[in-house]
Structure formats: C-alpha cells, structure tokens
C-alpha cells in the first residue's frame, strides 16, 4: 500500500492513477491493477495480487495426501476436475502406482470436458468484456451441460473432488452417457455459431488483433505455457510431448498461432475446444470397448476398501482405520509432475519425508507467469486494450494466489 501511495506523490501532474479492481467486473476474481495513465494511454501497470491467498501450500503440509484433493478444487475453479487429476497424478508418480485402465479413460474424458468448460468461460467472458454479449450466452448454455455432466459424475458442479489417489471415487453413472452424447452433438454447432459471430467480425478484429503480441522467445522467457504459448507459435502441449494417462492413444491436433495476440489466443482456444470434443468422442468409445471394471486400485494401503467390505470384514475395517488415521506409507523422495491444464502447465512439486502429509507441496500455477508479463504487454496501450488482454490471459485468481 505504502509504495503505491508514494508513487502518487512523486508523479507529475499529467499522470493519473486508476485502480482497476479489486472489484472491477473485468478482473473476474479479486485482483487489483494500478494503472498510471497519460490521457487514455497506460504508462505503467502494477498488478497487486494476493487477495485470494489462503496458504494452500502451508495447509497441504498439514493435511494428509487424500485430504489435499479438496484443496485442489479451489485452485482453478473453472476446471476443478483437471486440478484433481493433476494432483492425483503427481501423488501416483511419487508412489509409482499404476491406475486401472478405465479410471485413466474417465480421467481423460472429464479433463477434456473441463477444458471445454474452461475455454468457454475464457472466450465467453473475454467477449462479454468487449461487448459481445450474444456469444457469451450461446456458449454458457453448453457450459451448463458440462456442469450437469460433472454433477452426475461427482455429485458436485464446481468443487468436484472426483479423483482419489489410485483412481476415482466412483464410476460414471449410466445416465451420464446419453447426456454426453447429446452434448457432443450440440456443442460443435455452437462453436461454429460462435465463430460465425466473432471470427470475421470487424469490431472483434479491432478490439483483439495486435494486442498483446509476443515473440516466441519472449513467451518462453516469460514462462508461458498452454494456449497462450501455443498462440505465440510454440507447439508445446504436454498431452503430445510428454503423454500421460494414455493421451498418446488419442487422435487429436495441437492448434498453433503465429503472433500471440488476443485474436490468436481466441482462435487457438476455439480450435482446442473442437479437438477436445474429438478426444471426448474417442474416450466415450474407448469406455464402451473396455466395458465395466474397477476404477480404483485394489491396494488397500493406498485406496480405501469398499464400504460393504468395511462393514462386513475385519481386515477391511483395519485397512480403513489405518489409512484414515496413519495415512499411506510414502516413499522418501521428491517429484515434479506436470499436466496440461486448460490454462497451461499445472505442476505439483511434492517433497516427501515418508510422513502422513507431504513435507512440502508446491503448486505451480500456469497463470502466474502469464500474468507477470501484464505490465509489459499493456504499456503504451489504451485501458480498453488492458481489459481485452486481461480476459485473454485467462487469469483465475484462486490459482494465481493459492
């Protein structure tokens, strides 16, 4: 606070300080940007973050590995299932654990649905910030269906906590599949409609083209990942380059932009939604192929035994008790595991000393490095461009501040 007050005093009379946020509608979450203006042009932007800092990493050091799953929901709350998957994947790497095939496919299926929902939020909100309300409404109907699917799968729409270490907490219900099929049929025309509304719209071009353009070298130096990096022309997608959860068995393409401006990021996200739909289609087919089977590992040192067994068998009751009270037997070591979340590389760095809870757990949020370049990208531009840039960065404050 003090540093900002000082900078107001030292400014000359031509500059004006405007606080964007913490409750500005285009910040979508709680973050504050102090803009120094000369007329309508930004001479400096100082982001102030930490309004949603709740010490997730500190809490993680004091919770058991299973309990941390619920905290990952609150990171990127637009696609919380992907955070669940990323975290469980990290702990499974630490345990060197193989999960059942059906659980892998379901994880891919829900991850891609979450990616679509996340891109819908990003594009829809970006459009609504720039005045294109129709596109937002068209898209959000589809997002509603995705959340209905999540509700069927996990019982929750936003804070899903769907995964467990070693698999999933339950299989998909039967009525999930007809709705998923309907979603596949309905979503593709809506994406085409969205493109019809925006892609060749001259107003949309004026507001997005050339804004926030970045060279691939700069993007790498800024630590960009995900759609923002790919829009700059770097074909880096962990699903292709370091396949996990059997992503190498799916047929999909990686869209790449050229300039990295807001318009390119929009195009990359739209195409990624189409590719995600392709993956969802293949995952659904694969589920039918595999047929029913377990979705959680059969190792009661890691995953809780089924409730019927706990109530009827002595050993299962003991396993249940041991797992809840003493936690898993963890190896001593450290791992970094990364998955391709909707916004970029979501990494978990876990240091284990063999205890019930991690010695240190670090969440590598994709949007922190992206947002750190905000000042450089909006300098010399208009306030309206800052709004457009902020929307296209897809900042989720829950993940930014942890």
């Amino acid at each position: 606070m003090e540093s900002i007050a000082l900078s107001t005093q030292t400014l000359d009379g031509d500059k004006m300080i405007v606080n964007m946020g913490p409750t500005h509608p285009s910040t979508h979450g709680t973050l504050r940007i102090v803009l120094e203006l000369e007329g309508e042009f930004i001479t400096r932007a100082t982001p102030e973050i930490g309004y949603l800092h709740r010490g997730v990493e500190k809490l993680g050091e004091n919770l058991s590995y299973h309990q941390f799953v619920t905290l990952t929901d609150r990171l990127n709350y637009c696609s919380s299932i992907m955070n669940n998957v990323g975290y469980s994947h990290a702990v499974e790497k630490l345990l060197d654990l193989q999960i059942p095939e059906r659980a892998k496919v379901i994880r891919v299926l829900v991850s891609e649905l979450a990616r679509i929902a996340d891109h819908i939020v990003c594009i829809g909100i970006n459009a609504v910030d720039l005045g294109a309300f129709t596109a937002f409404l068209y898209l959000f109907r589809q997002r509603e269906t995705v959340y209905d699917l999540f509700e069927m799968a996990a019982g929750q729409r936003l804070h899903t906590s769907f995964t467990r270490i070693g698999g999933l907490f339950r299989d998909l219900p039967d009525d999930f599949f007809p709705l998923a099929e309907r979603f596949l049929e309905e979503c593709l025309p809506v994406i085409d409609e969205l493109e019809g509304l925006l892609t060749h719209n001259p107003i949309w071009h004026d507001r997005t083209k050339g804004i926030g353009a970045l060279s691939p070298e700069d993007a790498i130096s800024w630590g960009y990942t995900g759609p923002c990096l790919r829009a700059c022309g770097v074909p880096q997608d962990l699903r292709k380059t370091q396949p996990y959860l059997g992503y190498d068995q799916y047929d999909f393409d990686i869209p790449v932009g050229t300039t990295g401006d807001v318009f390119d990021r929009y195009l990359v996200r739209v195409e990624e939604m189409r590719q995600s739909l392709r993956i969802v289609r293949q995952a659904l087919d694969k589920l039918h192929e595999i047929g029913p089977g377990p979705v959680l590992v059969d190792d009661y040192k890691v995953a809780l035994p089924p409730k019927e067994k706990v109530y009827t068998r002595m050993e299962s009751l003991i396993h249940h008790f041991k797992l809840i009270m003493h936690g898993m037997e963890m190896p001593v070591g450290e791992i970094y595991s990364a998955t391709e979340a909707a916004n970029g590389e979501l990494g978990f760095y876990i240091v284990s000393d063999g205890g019930k809870s991690p010695y240190r757990i670090r969440v590598r949020p994709p949007c922190l490095p992206i947002f750190s370049s905000f000042d450089q990208k909006v300098r010399g531009r208009l306030i309206a461009d800052a709004v457009s840039e902020l929307g296209a960065m897809n900042i989720i404050a829950g993940e930014l501040d942890r």
């Binding site: 540093s3 930490g50 790498i220 450290e334 240190r360």
Partner: protein, 174 residues
C-alpha cells in the same frame, strides 16, 4: 547433461540424484550463474518454476544451509526436465535470474523470486524489485517457513490492539 557440466565447470555439482525419472543436481550458489548459463545454452530455456524448501533441522558439512531454493527447467527440444537445487543459509541471498544485467535473464523469475522472498524470506541479489508478492508489506514473518504457525499466530489481528479481551483469544498454536 551432468557430465557436460562436470566437464566445463568441475566441482560445480555438489550432488546429484534421480528419483522416479526426475534428475536433480545440487549446485553451490557461487557456481550457480555459471551452471545456469551452461544449461541455457544446452536448451533448458523454459524456467518452469522457482520455489524453496525449508529444512529447519538440516546442517551441511561445511556450513548450515536451512533452505533449498529449487528451480525446475524444461528443455523444449528434448522435453527433458532438470531440477537444480541451491542450498542457502537463513539470511543468505541467491543470485537473481531476473537481473537485467545477466546475458539471458529469465523474465518469469521476477515474480517467482518475489514469491519465494515473500513466503520464505530468501532475498535474491540483483532482483529489480525485491518486494513481497502475495502478502502485504508489513506482514509479520514468512508464511511457508516451518516455524511459522499454521493459523498465522495472530488470526484475529489482535497483536497491536489494546482491548482487554485481545490477550485472551485462544489460538491453536500458542
């Protein structure tokens, strides 16, 4: 990679190990910038993450090093990852990678180093703006140190209150 560093900068790697396919090297902070330059030229150009680990009870042979500053690099060409650890003692500083005077500054290091400074209290030498990132300027202590209480120590912000009841609010961590 490890052999190449050994060859070019003998003695720079204090220790190295691999666990579940993750390669880790431990580098002394005096040799750190040299190693970074070397691995940058080798293709490790995407600095994925900077964080730290607080080993409160640890003592190294020659000097006490309470913290490990942990860097994760990704080589976009070969898709290999490399973890570099720099042990530092409490109050000691680490060379900043966001320093604009470096031949290849990592712009992303700016905020990551500020976050480590904020939550662990490790200063970075040569950083253009070494201030707190997530907590506020006069926040007491550094939240991710192991001796920082889980509930913040003063959850109701009563430390500078003169109200008679302020001293009697129970906390889970006295």
């Amino acid at each position: 990679m490890i052999e190449r560093i050994e060859e070019q900068l003998p003695g720079a790697i204090m220790d190295h190990h691999a666990f579940r396919g993750d390669v880790t090297i431990v580098v002394a902070k005096e040799k750190f910038l040299g190693v970074v330059d070397l691995i940058f030229k080798d293709g490790y150009q995407l600095l994925v993450d900077i964080t730290a680990v607080d080993w409160m009870d640890r003592q190294l042979e020659d000097r006490p090093a309470r913290f490990d500053v942990v860097y994760h690099w990704l080589n976009l060409t070969s898709q290999e990852r490399l973890r570099v650890k720099v042990p530092v003692a409490d109050g000691e500083s680490v060379p900043s990678l966001a320093n604009p005077a470096l031949p290849h500054p990592f712009k992303t290091a700016d905020w990551f180093e500020r976050e480590v400074f904020d939550l662990f209290g490790i200063p970075f030498e040569g950083h253009p703006n070494m201030s707190r990132l997530l907590t506020w300027v006069d926040f007491p202590g550094h939240a991710l140190r192991k001796d920082f209480p889980l509930d913040g120590g003063d959850p109701f912000c009563m430390s500078d209150s003169t109200a008679p009841y302020a001293q009697h609010i129970p906390t889970t961590n006295p």
